[in-house]
Structure formats: structure tokens, C-alpha cells
């Protein structure tokens, strides 16, 4: 069975400081893992994906995530937060064409 746990429902950071959004997954198979971002009143946009190649995945807008099989984690990071990063972030695990969403982490960026 596949599942995703996003460990924080809300994260607040100051502009210019690092961002860490945590995600743990459970999967019976070698998973594909994704991070999506949703800005207010918008659809979901793919930030990055892990599909069994390099364990450190770089995405758009300076985000990256590291796949750690031993910890079953896929945390999302960014070295320096920007105001435009304020949004909802979803971690997703998939196998084949079934996708399982975490409950989301709301990121607030304080000026």
C-alpha cells in the first residue's frame, strides 16, 4: 500500500531564510515521488519528481528534494525563501498510474 505523510500542516519562514517541508512515504514498491505547489485559487503545478534516477532532485524555482530510502523521506528544501513561495505544497507518491496525496503543507513567508 502507498501513503504519504506530510509532517507539518503549516510552516512559516522569514524571507531569505531556508525552507524545509517534510514528507514521509510508505510504499510496497519502488516509488515515484512528486512535489506539487498550489498557489491560492490556482491548480497544482509540478515542482519536481523522483523516478529512481539521482536521489537529489532539482526542481523549478530553486527547490530541491532528496530521496532517502532508509528514512522513507522525500523532504523539500529551498536555500532562501521568496515571498512568491507562499503557497500550499503537496507531496505525492505513485505507483503506475495511481497517485496518493499528502494533506498538504501551507507555507507562509514573512517579509
Amino acid at each position: 500500500a502507498q501513503s504519504v505523510t506530510q509532517l507539518d500542516s503549516h510552516v512559516s519562514v522569514s524571507e531569505g531564510t531556508p525552507v524545509l517541508l517534510r514528507c514521509n512515504y510508505s510504499s510496497s514498491y519502488s516509488p515515484s515521488l512528486f512535489w506539487y505547489v498550489q498557489h491560492p485559487n490556482k491548480g497544482l503545478q509540478l515542482l519536481l519528481k523522483y523516478t529512481s534516477a539521482a536521489t537529489l532532485v532539482k526542481g523549478i524555482n530553486g527547490f530541491e528534494a532528496e530521496f532517502k530510502k532508509s528514512e522513507t523521506s522525500f523532504h523539500l528544501t529551498k536555500p532562501s525563501a521568496h515571498m512568491s513561495d507562499a503557497a500550499e505544497y503537496f507531496c505525492v507518491v505513485s505507483h503506475g498510474n495511481q497517485f496518493y496525496f499528502g494533506t498538504g503543507t501551507s507555507l507562509t513567508v514573512i517579509p
Binding site: 500542516s9 519502488s30 516509488p31 515515484s32 512528486f34 506539487y36 485559487n41 490556482k42 491548480g43 497544482l44 503545478q45 509540478l46 519528481k49 523516478t51 529512481s52 503537496f90 505525492v92 505513485s94 505507483h95 503506475g96 498510474n97 497517485f99 496525496f101 499528502g102 494533506t103 498538504g104
Partner: protein, 116 residues
């Protein structure tokens, strides 16, 4: 390419009314999905389709029906709307890859539905 589009963007219904949400994609994707998004619950899968003429139930299918008569379209129907169906509905599509691990979903902009 328009990607994934959804019609309408907003709708208000009275309890017991019916309506159909339309999702269209121009990427020739095999798989299409309907989700609902509620505060604090992430996205929950309602129904999905693995190809033209096929549909399957997801996590929360009750009160909804779907049809995939054409590959590019996936319709979500509410036969008798209830206030519990007030939500934001997202359609998504994905492609079939020889490497099953390399699929991702493409999302529409959402439909905000209120049932009074």
C-alpha cells in the same frame, strides 16, 4: 497546447439539483482523474479512467458518476447535489510511459462548487 481545461470555473447549486463538470485535455493522455479538495484533507480521488470508454471508482465515489466517451474528455456528474459536495474539483491527466515510474499528472485550474 491548452493542457487540461475545466468547465465551469464556478457554480452554485441548490440541494437536489444536478450538474456536469467537463474536463478536456489536448495532450493525448490515456489516464484521466477527478479529485475533490477540501480544507485539511488534500486531494481525494473520486473516479478515474484508464482509457476511452473505461471508468473506475476512487476513494470517494459516492454521489458522483463519470463518463469517458472520448479520449480527450472526462465528465463528472452530480445527479442530486448535497451540501457535502461543496468543494473544489480538480481534473488531471497523465500519460502512459514504458517506464511506469516516470508518469506525472497534469492538472486543470479547478471548479469551485457550492451547494446550498
Amino acid at each position: 497546447n491548452a493542457g487540461v481545461t475545466q468547465t465551469p470555473k464556478f457554480r452554485v447549486l441548490k440541494t437536489g439539483q444536478s450538474m456536469t463538470l467537463l474536463c478536456a485535455q489536448d495532450m493525448n493522455h490515456e489516464y484521466m482523474y477527478w479529485y475533490r479538495q477540501d480544507p485539511g484533507m488534500g486531494l481525494r480521488l473520486i473516479h478515474y479512467s484508464v482509457g476511452e470508454g473505461t471508468t473506475a471508482k476512487g476513494e470517494v465515489p459516492d454521489g458522483y458518476n463519470v463518463s469517458r466517451l472520448k479520449k480527450q474528455n472526462f465528465l463528472l456528474g452530480l445527479e442530486s447535489a448535497a451540501p457535502s459536495q461543496t468543494s473544489v474539483y480538480f481534473c488531471a491527466s497523465s500519460y502512459v510511459s514504458g517506464l511506469a515510474l516516470d508518469n506525472e499528472q497534469f492538472f486543470g485550474p479547478g471548479t469551485r462548487l457550492t451547494v446550498l
